[in-house]
Each structure stands twice: as C-alpha cells, then as structure tokens.
Amino acid sequence: MPTPCLRVVGLSVDYPGSAGKVYHAVQNVSFTVHHGEIFGIAGESGCGKSSLAHAIVRLLKPSATVASGHVYLDDLDLMTLNEAMMRSVRWEKVAIVPQSAMNNLSPVLRIGAQIVDAIVAHESTSRNRALDRARELLRRVGLAPELVASYPHQLSGGMRQRAVIAMALALNPQLLVMDEPTTALDVVVQAGIMHQIKQVQREFGFSVLVITHDLPLLMQVADRVGIMYAGSFVEIVPSPVMLEHPRHPYSRALMQAFPPLLGPSRRAPSIEGTPPDLSIALKGCSFAARCPEAVAMCGVKAPVAMSPGQDQLVVCHRWEEPSRV
C-alpha cells in the first residue's frame, strides 16, 4: 500500500479580473501523489495547471489568492505555515522547477554559486563544501561537474534547464514540482531531460509532480496522469490505462491532438471550440459545449466524480459506456 507524499484537498485559486470579475482558475481540486511516484498533470494552456503547481509551493503571483483548501506534505499543512516557515520548507521538502521558457538563472552569477546559494540558505555548511555538492548534483542530471564555473549564457537551453533541476535537487526534497520543465526546448532534448529525471527519481526515490501540455511525452515518464480542464481534474488514471482506455472524451481528444513521435505521421485533429469563461459558474459539465459525445443531460447537470479503481478518478456522465472511438 503506497503512502501519500502530497495530499491536496479542495484547493481553489482565484484571480481578480477587470470590472470586479473573479476568475476561478483552480476549482476545488483534490488529489494525492504517493511517495516515489511520478504524477503528471496535462491540459491545454489556461486550464489552471500552472496555478495549481504554484499554489502548492505557495509562489502564486501577489494578485492571486488561495480561496480555500489544504496542501499536506506528509502531515504538514503548507497553507497554515507563516512565510518564514514556508521559506524553510520550500527547497528542503518541496522544490520547484519553473518553465524552461523563462530565464531561471541569474546572468551575473556562476552556475555553481547559484546552486551553492540554495544549499547555504538552508544548511550551515561552508561554501566550499556546498560547491562540491553542486558538482555532484550537476553530474547527477547529466552535466559536466566543471560547469559550476560557467555562466548561464555559456550553456544551451537544455543544459540550463538541467542546471535548474540540479538546483532543485540540492537539498534532497521529497517532492519535486515541475511546471512545464521542457516546453521551450526541442523535442529530442525534451525527451532526454524527462528520461533523466525519471532515472534520477528511480535512484533517489523522491516524488515528482510534473505539469505539461504534452500528454504523450508525459505518459512515457509518469506513473499516473491527471487531465485538467477548466480548473478541475476530469480524469486521473495510471499511464497504461490512459494509453489504452481513456474514459473521458476530453482525454481522448487530448491524446489525439499529438502526432506520435514514432510511426506513420498523420494530421493531428485539434479540439474544436474554446474553454469556458472561468469567471462564470456553469450549470452542466464544463466540457459539454465542446464534447463530441455530449447528451442532453451534460448541459444541465454537472457530472459527479466517480472512482473506477484505486487512486483513479473520472468526471463524466457517460464514463461507464464502452469506448466510442
């Protein structure tokens, strides 16, 4: 029986909009990540997956607020910690790797110094000893240890993101949150980094929460995947189940939106329509307007979350019907 590492319970995140509107970016989300598990979250941009990641490590933009909910790391509720306590928990227990498209490293400090800064901020150790650890961390993510003496602009995008991952692993956190860690990189580099993460994770046994819009890539590394749509999960299942038997119509659409990396190329069908306005409360299923399989009930009554198996979830009126693909 796996034990939970991260337990998110009823988490909601709001953003203020113009003219007094409130956008409910994350709506009453609950899920669990087990110890030693790689949990992936996929969805279109704007579905709230990034807000969810940032809310878990409490790094939301100042305008955003956590409207309700709890985030338990083992038994510690992160939402109840004060800023100083959160500051020490962050990186020691949970670290984040932000989007690769951003410039995550300071241009004026050497890679080594930036990793050392993370270590000495949490442990009383000398900078020299911390630098030795930085070398070991770089080696762990597949970089040459000598790169501690380099500046970020001397590294390629993929190498920089590997260095950021090394920095996130500096204090052996039990959970690594990765928000689109490979988005801006080219496909081959993406796959390389994702597999490296999996390898390091298998070796050290921490948990990973990884967020991406690239579902096929995600399923190569994740043990379990959750599909988010309009601020909530519509389906959570183990990767093999998702690959063979996606139950939610949106999951199916998302799976087909990507051409396979190998095999015959085909035209990727895109999903018709746009996601709903998150500032308005919906009556029925949030996906009903775009769902090719919607029935009358879908527009009227919101579906209830059902659990087809251990640690699984699906939110669809027609989930029990056999696949119609």
């Binding site: 020490s88 951003m102 400090l109």
Partner: protein, 330 residues
C-alpha cells in the same frame, strides 16, 4: 579570466576612441572658423582693438595667415601633436598648454570624486527605493530625486556657500588651497585641500545623485520582475543577498553604461560649480577667458576637456568586461 577573447571588443572601443578624438580636434579647429568667419576679426571687434596691426597679429596667432584652410588644419594638428596650443592673451607669455594643464588637476579631482560618490550614493538609494517599490521609502526617494533633478547646479552651490560658509562659517567660501604666508606641512595642506573641496564636491554630488537614483531604480525594477528573481527567492536566498548579489549586480550593468554617458554632463556641471567657488579648474579658466576674450585659452581648454572625457570613457570601456560576464566570455 580569459582576456584574450576580448581582443575584438578592445579594438572596437579603441577605434571609437580614436575617431572621437579626431572629431573633437576637428571640431575645436572648426569652431572659431565656422562661427565668426575670421576669428581674428571677430575677436578684434569684440575687444575694441580693431587696428589692422592687431588683426594681423591675431591672425598669426590663430594660424590664419595667408594659407588655405586645409593648410591651417594640417598646421593645427602638427602644432597640437607638439603640445602647442598657442599663447594665452591674458597670461602672456605663458602658453595655453601651461595654463590649461595647471588648471586640469582641479577639475579632474572634482569630477572624479563627485562622480564616484554620487554614483555610489545614487545607486544605493536606487536599489533601496526599488526594493521597497510603492512604499514610503520609495515614494520619498523618488519625490526628492525629482526636486534635486530640477535644481540648477550653480544655484545649489550658491545655497551651500550661503549656509555652510556664510551663515555657519564651517567651510571656506571658495578657492582650492588654504591661504598661508609660510609653506604648510603636508598634513595641514592636505586637510586644507579637502576642506576646500567639500562644498564643490557636495553640490555636484547632490545635483547628480538624483539621476543615478532614478536610473538605478528603473533598472532594478526591471530586474526584479525577471523570472530568476522569483526562483532565487524560492530557493531561500536571504533578502540582503537577493537584493545585492542577484538584483543590484544585474541592474548595475546598464547603470554603468549610463554613468559613462552622463560623464559629459557632470563635467558641464563642474565647470559652472567651479565658478561659484572660484575653484581654480578649467571651468574658472574658461569663465575668465570668456570675460577677457582670451580665445586661445577657451579653445585649448575645451580641447583638453574633451580629450579627458574621451579618455575617461575609454578607460571605463576597458573596465566594463570585469562587470559583465557576457562581454567577458563572448
């Protein structure tokens, strides 16, 4: 440090400095000729000494005598390379070179110490203001900076003289050296020089620190919005290190460039400030030369001033790679 990779960078900066020097010399040569037609004639009419003999003598002094402009230009450059900038009318028989070079150290000292102090003060305040953006410290620093930005250099200097020299009598009203019949011991002389420099330096610092504050604050704000700042904060870097090593260090690069570009205007301010304090630098020299129509001195002083600023900029360009790893290694 891999200095050899900087060859092309240094070469580019050196070429720019050489071209700038050439342009400055040419401008200095052209100015009196463009402005008044015959500068000797203009001078003669201004000084009410318009006799033909005087005009002729002046023409010779300007190197205008019966030669083509090109010939004059060649002569001018040759003379200049020999360190000959003509003879001063006022300080006759002293040469312009002598007069200018005896004044130069005062201006260099004034500008250099004021620039360093002002840059440090302004930049530090800018860092603090940006760090506390939107809070009271920030509002006040920016508000006060705006006012200081609007104060004329020379009036600020007059105010300081009025308060600290006239009303309070703490500091001398002007001049650069302590007055004494007997030669002073080095320590007393040094202290005297510093006492005389306090007010001129202070007025320049107060007048220029405001723009460094606003520049640094702007640069800081854009750095603070960068993604790496969020990540650095997330990984637990203490505030002080975040503020200086991560943010200020990166924001300093554009500030430093702007410091170099503003050097010219600080020099301008120093010239006017010197006049208020009768500080015996180039500003005072030019001021007196204008009053006495000592044209060779005006021309020579401007040339040396321009060359000094160009050299200072060149030195700053050479130092810049030490600050910015991106120039250093690419």
């Amino acid at each position: 440090m891999r200095f050899w990779t900087l060859g092309p960078y240094f070469f580019k900066k050196l070429m720019f400095a050489i071209i700038t020097v050439w342009l400055a010399i040419t401008a200095d040569f052209a100015l009196p000729r463009l402005m008044g037609g015959n500068p000797a004639l203009a001078l003669a009419s201004k000084t009410a000494l318009g006799s033909p003999a005087v005009v002729k003598a002046l023409e010779r002094a300007f190197g205008l005598y019966h030669t083509s402009v090109l010939q004059q230009y060649g002569d001018f450059i040759v003379q200049m390379l020999h360190g000959n900038l003509g003879i001063s009318y006022e300080y006759y028989p002293e040469s312009v070179t002598q007069v200018v070079f005896s004044a130069l150290p005062y201006t260099v000292g004034l500008v250099l110490s004021a620039t360093v102090l002002s840059f440090l003060l302004g930049t530090l305040l800018g860092v603090v203001a940006a760090w506390h953006q939107g809070r009271r410290v920030d509002d006040w620093s920016v508000g006060v900076a705006f006012i200081f930005f609007a104060i004329p250099y020379f009036w600020l200097a007059m105010l300081l003289v009025y308060v600290f020299a006239f009303l309070l009598g703490w500091l001398p009203m002007g001049q650069a050296l302590p007055v004494s019949v007997v030669p002073l011991p080095p320590l007393a002389l040094g202290l005297g020089i510093i006492r005389h420099a306090v007010l001129p330096v202070a007025s320049l610092v107060l007048a220029t620190a405001a723009s460094y504050l606003l520049i640094m604050r702007d640069n800081m704000l854009s750095v603070l919005a960068e993604d790496y700042m969020m990540l650095a904060r997330a990984k637990g870097v203490p505030n002080r290190r975040l503020m200086f090593r991560y943010a200020a260090r990166a924001a300093l690069l554009p500030s430093f460039t702007q410091l170099m570009l503003s050097l010219g205007s600080v020099v301008g301010g120093a010239l006017v400030t010197e006049v208020v304090f009768s500080y015996p630098g180039l500003g005072n020299l030019i001021y007196n030369a204008i009053l006495n129509h000592d044209y060779p001195v005006i021309q020579g002083a401007f040339l040396i001033l321009a060359l000094s600023v160009i050299s200072a900029n060149f030195v700053a360009d050479l130092l810049y790679p030490l600050l910015d790893p991106r120039v250093m290694l690419n």
